[in-house]
Structure formats: C-alpha cells, structure tokens
Amino acid sequence: MTITAGIDIGTGAVKTVLFDSDGGENGKWLERRSDRIRRRDPQQLAESGFDDMLSAQSLSRDDVAYVATTGEGENVSFRTGHFYSMTTHARGAVYLMGEIGAVLDIGALHGRAIRIDNRGKVLSYKMTSQCASGSGQFLENIARYLGVAVDEIGELSKQAQEPEKVSGICAVLAETDVINMVSRGITTSDILKGIHLSMAGRLVKLVKSIKADQKVLMTGGLALDEGLVAAMKEEMVEQKVDIEVANHPDSMFAGAIGAALWGSFRHEKLAALDQLAQAS
C-alpha cells in the first residue's frame, strides 16, 4: 500500500486529502480538510493543513510516497508532482461516483465541462469564456449585496416564483442589472434564482458542447449549491439534454482525491521504471 496526498489549491479554498491506495486503485480515504483562503497565503495554508493531517494520522512526511498538487498548486514547494485540474477532477469524480460520462467543475471564477471515459480519461472539455457574469464570485458579491448569507442562497433560490435572468455578459453591468431588478421590486428569491438560471444556462451549454451522453457529476466549490443544482435540472430540461446531473457530498474534494490517486499511480510507474533501469 502507498500513502499519497492530494492538495487542490482553488480560488476560494485549499482542499487537502490523504489516501492509501495501490497505484491509485481501491484507494482508502484517510484524511480530508478544506480551508477557506480568506486573503491568507494558500501555500502556507496547504503546508500547515498537510502537516496537521499527518499528525492526525501520526505519520511523518517521509511516510508519504507522493505529494500531488492540482489547481493553482504548481509552485507548492514540497510537492512531488503536479497534475492539472481537469485530469484530477475527472479521476476524483470516477472515484466518487463510478459510472459517469462527464464532470462539471464549477469554481469561483470558472466553469469546465469535461467528458471522460469510464476510467476517468479526459476525452474533451469546454471552459466558460473569460468574461462571465456566471461566475461563483459574482453570485457571492450579489448575495452580500442582497444581505443573504452564502448558506441561505440555495433555499431562497428554490422559493423563487418568477425568476428573471441577468442579461449582461460583463459582471459589472450584470451587477447593475441586479440593482435595477431590486429597484423594480423583484424579490431576492427571484433574483438569486435568475442568477442561478443564467449560470446553469451557460453550464448546460458547456455540457451539451462536449456531447456528454452519460450521467454528469458536479464538482468544485459550487457543486453543493442546491439552488444551482435545481436550476441545472431545469435548464437541462429547457435545453433538452436528457442525462442526469448528479452530485456527491464530497464532490468539492474531487480535485484533491484525483491528485492523490494519480500521485499513487505515478509513484508505482516511476518505481517500475527504476527497477527496469536497475535490471538493465
């Protein structure tokens, strides 16, 4: 058995996991943690989080065969190797849910639809374009403006009667859209739902463009926003996409999990190469 760590540095939070697996197969999940960055240095957060996890398992750094980073973790000093987000989310998603055709990774500033095969290989992908009012960041800004706590968004959004979509492509102009809605007396619920629907609209468009044909698993920071999940389901119907959008309580860890598993896989492969080298 090999112990590997996966560290996923995102825009909003650092996710870290510890796994015990053989070459990435039948992995056993030892530890997990997620630290919101809140203007702190992600590098340090990652390091302290990592060490805390080890001590929780009474392990030392030497016990870890491979420390794999993903997300914005390319320059984490103590990493063994780095895998790119879509590679890791795909692998993590398969670990979490098995039979899926695609991953929809929704972060604070990006949305990515990734089509994968049953082993988690990335077949194709599509990202939201740079200037997008559909970003999670935008949703948070608006929520604060409306006096809504992040954990309320989903519930409120579900209560919407007649949601109105935000038209603007530029988030700043979209913000003004929202202010205008408030001034026209549109309810908070309808506004939030409207934003969820606009986001979902874009995301479903992504899902369609990669021609996903099987269950889609939502991962990333916003995967657990019930309001968005609900909106996604509606938009799938609206845009006539007949596949299930699933989500998983641990889906925010998908990137970190994938990194840990790939780390293990890589570790064994390299070990094998070494033996070859020594043999010859």
Partner: protein, 429 residues
C-alpha cells in the same frame, strides 16, 4: 400568417411590399419542392451574385445571407447560432455562417417550408473572406459540388484588365462547365444576354428610387426602407420580369409620395416631420430591426443614403449589366460590389453622399460579424468628419445575434447624438 390574412387585417404596407413578400414566399416554396419537380438548387452569395448566369442553367437560387437575415427577423436565428456554436464553431466568427449552418442542420427555411440542401455552391468570393470558409464548411458538411470564383480586391480603387481577365477566365474554364455538368443544361450566351437586358431595366428604376431621397422631405428611408427596395435585385430575382415589374410599381408609389410631399412609410404608418437627414454605413441589425428603426423615426430621423444598399452592386455610380459583353459585365459586377472597394474609395462615397443628399451627419452601425465592413470604420468616421465637418456617431451591434444587440446602449448613443446635432444647429442659428 398568409399574406391575404395580413391584408385583411389591414397590416400597413404598400403594394410593392406585398409584391415583394409574394415573390420571396414563392421562391421559398419553389426551393422546397425543387427536387420533387426535378429542379436543381444553387446557393450563392449576395455580393457577386450571378443570378442571370444561374438562370441560364434552370437552377433555383438560394442565398444564405438572405436566409439568415430572414431567420433573424423572425427571431429564429438565436437558437441556430447556439446550435452551431455547440457543434464547435467559435463564438468569435460571423453569425450569418452559424445561423446558416444551424438552419441546415434542421433543413427548414425561414418560412417554415423545408429547405433542401443545395446541389451546387457557387462560391463567388467577393469582398468577404468569410464567404470562402463558409462554403468550405457547407461543402464539408453536405458534400455539395462547389465551384470557386475568386474576385480580386480593388485595393487601389480601380478594376484592371488583369482582374477582369482572371474572373472571365474562371467563368469560362471553371464555373460554366461545372454548372453545365450539375444542371445538365448547355450554356447559351444569348439566353444570358436576355436576362442581362432585363436586369438593366430594373437597375435604372432602383437607382431612381434610391436617389429620390435627395428630395426634402425624403420620400424614402434609404436604409431601413432601403433594405426592402434592394431585396429583389440583390437576390434571386434580378433579370426576371417580376423584378422589373416590382421596381416599376415601387417607382410609381414614390413618385406619388414626392408629389404629395410625404416622408417615408414606417411600420407605424407615415413618418412625422423630417428632423434629421443621415447617411449610414454598415448593415442593420436584423433581430431587433423594428426597435432599431423606431429609435430613428420616433426622433424624426430619416436615412437618405446608405452604403449597405450597395453590397449587391453600386448601381448609383453608373454600373449597369451590359448584354453586349455578357461575361465581362458579370466580372465587372462582381469586382464593383461595395465591400470589394478600397477603404479610401468607401470614404469618398460617404463624403459625396453627405453632400449630394444634404445630410446632417453619418451614423456607422458597426457589425461584429462583418470585418469586411467593420475593420477600419473608425478611421472612415474620422476622415468623414474631417472632410465634411459633419458629426458622426458610432454604434456596435450584430447581424443576427440577439445577444449582441443592447437596446439601452444603442438608444443612449443615438439619443445623445441627435441631441448633439440639435444643439449644434441651434448654436449655428
């Protein structure tokens, strides 16, 4: 809704309008049944549209830009564009192309009649790079026989012998043989001559109509109204007696309006007092065509000359199809289309229009899709202002992409522009 029904309901339109609507619907109906009736379909573009030549081979004519704009006006284009983008076409490229590909996926035309795939693509590569890739894409998707007619660019503002020879040679050695093979009809140059004679008649009337805007008040809107007037000649009807008849009726209607000192007809009836006379550069937006037009006639603004009504031929500068040299005249026609002119030449046209039509200023509607038009328009605007001393306004919209028409922005610009013109006038007085 059927035309008769609309007529019963007293929808505001002149006779010429009804005629044109009937011609267009008839053409779509004919395209729908072409294959059952053993007719072949040719697709070709508006600039460099060789309608007379295609008729010589009994081919039905389908014009992709027209299909796209018809879909735009019927608010169908948005979805088609998204379908095309989902199929992998970039959000950055021309929305005519995407609307067309989106439509072909469904195989249904703007009127709801089926639109069969064309049997031959006449790629007259005239004044627009995108045309070339557009038909490569259609060919790639639908395996249509394709014949390329490369029309050189008038970079120095003149048509040279070498250019003309090149185009004529392509017609003789490539285009005509291909059309003969596809249609099974032998080429008959006298038949071509006949159609060309017919074209010239209609062209005379069209020019008269467009120039009637020199009257005050102008009896026509040469942009929002103009796009209807150019319909038949720029599309599948040039060279047909129907087209000639249409322009005849149109001319009479306008002679009448002039006699009665009337302004243009708008979708809401006669326009009020003429307050601003404008020149426009660039195509209109189709998805919000009515709202866009309303922003003008509500303010008493009438367009007296536009470059867009010259994309299918700059007839008012003297060109006529000439049956004495049939192939050469087709070459000159292609080489002379507005978007094939050099930028300096385009500026000259705008300046001349401003003077001849006594316009208050220039409005440039810059189209995201159309770099052939749009690239350089901001310089054209400067040159225009410098040479005429008249103010210009600049707005950005798109042809058939509803996502790219921001009514609030456009209105704000146009409002400010009119208020500016007004202010300068009172100042001058």
């Amino acid at each position: 809704m059927s035309i008769d029904k609309q007529k019963e309901q007293g929808v505001q339109k002149e006779d010429s309008m009804w005629r044109q609507k009937e011609m267009i619907n008839a053409n779509y109906a004919s395209l729908a049944s072409a294959h059952e009736n053993g007719r072949k379909i040719a697709a070709t573009f508006v600039p460099g549209n060789l309608n007379e030549l295609l008729m010589c081979f009994d081919l039905d004519r389908s014009l992709p830009e027209t299909n796209a704009l018809q879909n735009g006006m019927r608010k169908k284009s948005g979805r088609m564009i998204m379908d095309a983008e989902r199929a992998g076409h970039s959000e950055d490229v021309c929305t005519y192309v995407k609307a067309d590909l989106g439509m072909m996926q469904k195989g249904v035309g703007p009127t709801g009649d089926p639109l069969p795939k064309p049997d031959v693509l006449l790629l007259s590569y005239t004044g627009c790079f995108t045309f070339m890739k557009w038909f490569e894409l259609v060919r790639d998707e639908y395996d249509c026989e394709t014949t390329m007619l490369h029309v050189p660019y008038q970079a120095d503002g003149k048509i040279t012998k070498s250019m003309r020879d090149y185009v004529v040679k392509q017609l003789k050695e490539d285009v005509i043989p291909t059309l003969e093979r596809v249609s099974g009809v032998k080429f008959d140059i006298d038949r071509l001559r006949g159609y060309l004679k017919e074209s010239a008649k209609a062209e005379d009337d069209l020019v008269w109509v467009l120039q009637s805007a020199k009257n005050k008040p102008s009896p026509i809107d040469a942009y929002f109204g103009g796009v209807y007037y150019i319909g038949p000649i720029f599309t599948a009807f040039r060279g047909t007696p129907e087209a000639t008849a249409y322009y005849n009726v149109l001319r009479q209607e306008i002679e009448q309006r002039i006699a009665q000192g009337q302004g243009p007809v708008t979708p809401e009836g006669d326009m009020g007092a003429e307050r601003y006379r404008l020149i426009t550069e660039g195509p209109p937006n189709w998805t919000s065509f009515r709202d866009f037009w309303k922003m003008f006639y509500d303010e008493g603004a009438v367009v007296v000359a536009s470059t867009y009504t010259k994309v299918g031929g700059v007839y008012d500068l003297g060109f006529r199809h000439n049956s004495d040299e049939p192939l050469e005249t087709l070459a000159d026609y292609c080489l002379g289309c507005y978007t094939n002119l050099s930028l300096p030449k385009r500026v000259d046209m705008l300046v001349d229009y401003a003077n001849e039509y006594e316009a208050d200023g220039l409005l440039i509607n810059s189209i995201k899709s159309c770099n052939s038009f749009s690239a350089g328009q901001l310089l054209m605007m400067r040159e225009f202002e410098a040479r005429t001393g008249k103010p210009a306004a600049f707005i950005e919209t798109d042809l058939v992409d509803p996502r790219y028409f921001s009514a609030a922005n456009v209105k704000n610009r146009i409002e400010s522009y009119f208020q500016m013109v007004e202010q300068r006038r009172t100042q001058a007085a």
